[in-house]
Amino acid sequence: MQLAAAGRGGRRPVSTQYDIEHFLDEVVTLPSLPETVVRVTQMVENPECRLKEVAAVIAADPALSLKTLRLVNSAYYGLGQHVTTLEHAVVLLGIKVIKNLALTATVFDAFKTGTSVFLRHSIACGALMRTLAESSAVALSRHTNPDEAFVYGLLHDIGKVIIEEFLPAETAKIPAVMRARGVTWYEAERALLGVDHAQVGARLAEKWKLAPQLVHAIDSHHDLSRCADESARVLAASVGVADYICGACGLHAAPEARYAPAEDIWALAGVRSETQPAIFQSFLDQYALVEELVSLAA
């Protein structure tokens, strides 16, 4: 149901307030995941799946194959040798990593409608989530592995791409609402539209049949109360921490974007003041590699 925040006497409404179901039914069209990636995701879930079969499925999609191999050969993944076939890549990295790389390549395509600032923010968040998952000092390492964590960070704001594609005029108003009301991007979205990018991104992840934990993490990364599952709350809190730290490094999703995290995300993510220098060191040591991924994705 579309509700207009209308005044009386025929005055134009200030904003249009959607509910999420109407928004998804009438306003936006969530893109589908390419069939190749769907098949690979299903295959990886099968414990009897063979490496060669996964490699063959991706190799049969020349465009995806090329993009996946470019990521495999990037310095970020540090193989130290040039890989020319998917089969070789699968042997070296394993089918779950290759699945995530194929998904990453697909997401990079979806991001092409976004800005370079947004792309850099998303990839940086992915890299920071990987850093957090590699650290035994924080909670994330007990809930996911570094490759999956990268995907959580990469996808957390994908809802913004969808909203901007279908509602560019409304998206352009968000910075002004932020300044006028002193609120964050997420709060300004809700004030203008009644829905937010976390909801939309979560629905996209659901449509793509991604892991339920990922769906919850995207949905809750600005509002932990949306998620009751303890593990998903840790993932969402970690995304929130990564989001904040990227912003602290000037790597916002948009020049005007600001993030006011809930106070409990740091405790839930297990990121203490004393452990942050090591996290920053590890993240920034690989930042040049992040820029390489940005150039691959652009």
Partner: protein
């Protein structure tokens, strides 16, 4: 660069950034001393537990942007609206 904030526990503090993260003296915290004594200056790394994690992220991020080698956006380049 100097920034004023409030520590966990309510004490005021000025954080002074003068160099990169890799230099232990690159960041210092200036806090009121005990009653009757002047302000205390300590290396930030020695008193991190007095800060909220969000504050530490802000400080380390700003330090890297101002003095680091990663070509992050300099302070003020992308900041602006609250």
């Amino acid at each position: 660069m100097v920034g004023a904030l409030t520590l966990l526990g309510g004490r005021p503090c000025n954080v002074v950034l003068v160099g990169p993260r890799q230099n232990p003296k690159g960041a210092a915290a200036v806090m009121p001393g005990e009653e009757g004594s002047g302000p205390q200056t300590q290396m930030l790394s020695a008193v991190l537990s007095l800060f909220h994690p969000r504050q530490v992220a802000d400080i380390l991020g700003m330090q890297e942007r101002a003095f680091g080698a990663c070509n992050l956006p300099p302070p003020g380049e992308v900041d602006g609206a609250p």
